[in-house]
Symmetry: C2
Subunit: 159 residues, 2 copies
């Protein structure tokens, strides 16, 4: 109970910080923190998962009928640039976004049967990636890594 409350409070604080960072980013770029952007941010943050622009569009519409789809796309791009959202691509044709503020970097392990995804990270891999790039004279600025397979439930059903 206490722990859960603590966690929720923690998440809430993070949310406020992220909101603040978004605000700061906009200010720095002389852009405005409009009501639409606020709504989109809030819904996006409350989902806290891997959400496509179209999904988010549907959800924001429930809060505000008048919000346009283009604005959702635009805002997600802004959130990316501000460093509080990240694009993820599970190779199923839709680009998704996930909250990224204060979150450690992670990669994804995806079940090809049921679609569930697990967030994973291995510091040793991260280190080796850096080395690998270095060996080829590259300055590494980022990477994307997706591990595809079958989860414990689904690998039983496999042929």
């Amino acid at each position: 109970m206490k722990i859960k409350k603590f966690i929720i409070k923690g998440k809430d604080i993070i949310m406020q910080s992220a909101r603040e960072q978004f605000f700061q980013y906009l200010a720095r770029k002389k852009l405005r923190f409009t009501s639409q952007r606020a709504i989109i941010f809030d819904v996006f943050w409350s989902v806290d998962g891997h959400v496509s622009p179209e999904e988010l569009y549907r959800m924001t519409k429930e809060k505000d009928r008048s919000i346009g789809q283009a604005t959702v796309y635009r805002t997600l791009k802004l959130l990316s640039d501000a460093g509080i959202a990240r694009e993820v691509d599970f190779s199923d044709g839709v680009t998704r976004y996930e909250p990224y503020y204060g979150q450690k970097h992670h990669d994804h392990l995806i079940c090809q049967e049921c679609g569930q995804s697990v967030e994973v990270v291995d510091p040793r891999i991260e280190k080796l990636q850096e080395e690998l790039a270095w060996q080829h004279g590259f300055t590494l600025s980022g990477h994307s890594m997706y591990l595809y397979g079958y989860c414990s439930q689904c690998s039983g059903k496999q042929a």
Copy 2:
């Protein structure tokens, strides 16, 4: 000279084997090794790089004016299924294909400035990926890993 000749000969042998594997695959699936498929295969193989369907379409047209774009798309898909081509996605909006027969698995290191890509592989990373999936109860069937950064030429020009 001799070495180059040997390499070319080697490549040629591989090409023949890949062609043979394509043929076998088609036979197994009761599909036909048509002239169009042969042409597309040959051009694809001669390019030996990361080529988009549209690029390949343009190139095959130079060999045979009458080949349709749909056939190129279809054939690339067949080559994928046959295990002699692989889709690659450098996150620039186009899916590319690369020959994959007899080639060791590799990942890609991409320069975000000039677009050049380097094929890389680190057995230690591959191993750790396997372990990582295992730890989460997953059976790993594949992965995609792209390292983004700036090559030695381009990192000089960086701001």
